[in-house]
Amino acid sequence: MSSRENLVGRELCRFTYLVERGKIRELVLAIGDDNPLYTDPEYARARGYRDIIAPPTFGTCIDLWGGMDFTTLCSKLQLNPVKVLHGEQEYRYFKEICPGDRIEAVCRLSRIIDKGKMYLFILETEYFNQEGELVLSSRHTIIERK
């Protein structure tokens, strides 16, 4: 535990992800979300957007395809993969994310909480676009059962 405590407050990883039209389409098809804002550029442009936009849970694609996949996370946090659960997820939205955007994500471990039967790991990630604008932030709570 002590070596994990040393990670608290520190940057865990930083990665860049290029938003692809096809990835947005795959995600909304898997969810079964038929909102044309995610697939039809004409429809999105007619509503004032520069292109199709990413759906509210697209942050997961940025993380997992961008560099912070499950294996990487377990190794950085020294987690036992079979004891790990996704406890909570929060997103805050600041600006739309569109295909072609180059997102830089910065992930920090903000807290480790000992709940007795489990540990909670709170990860906070900020996502910036190619203009340096904060577009999204995430607070991800990982549960590790003891």
């Binding site: 898997a30 509503r47 004032g48 759906p55 997820q89 939205y93 739309e96």
Partner: protein
Amino acid sequence: MKQMETPVFYEDFELNQSLPPLTKPPVDRVQLVRYAGASGDFNPLHYVDEVGQKAGTGGVIAHGMLIMGFAGQAVTRWVPNRYLRRLAVRFTGMTRPGDKITVTGRVVEKRIENGCGLVVGEVIAADEKGEVKLKGSFEAALPLKSTPL
């Protein structure tokens, strides 16, 4: 000429108002494989039964983020994407293939802040037996009817 969404205003929401439920088709294994590929979450717990048996879940379970995706779909039907400021959930139950998820919502708070109409809602995803899979909240900053868009 720009064709906007049907205008939605702060005044369209009432405190304690129930929002239209969204019922999804039953979750199936193809969907879990599709979601694994789309999201990049290849934890075999979501598509290999034996892994589920070992992990004590009694078989494959859906990705929590898939169910949050359902919640996101419902929320963006209630408030247009451009006004959504926050979506937060706690995963409380496991979803298995065959579970039919319904997302329900309710307005729990309304206030005007910096010229915007802030609406806070509760969002819950549960199966047909009423077992809750996730519970959370959303916040939207909506225009007021009294101010020009």
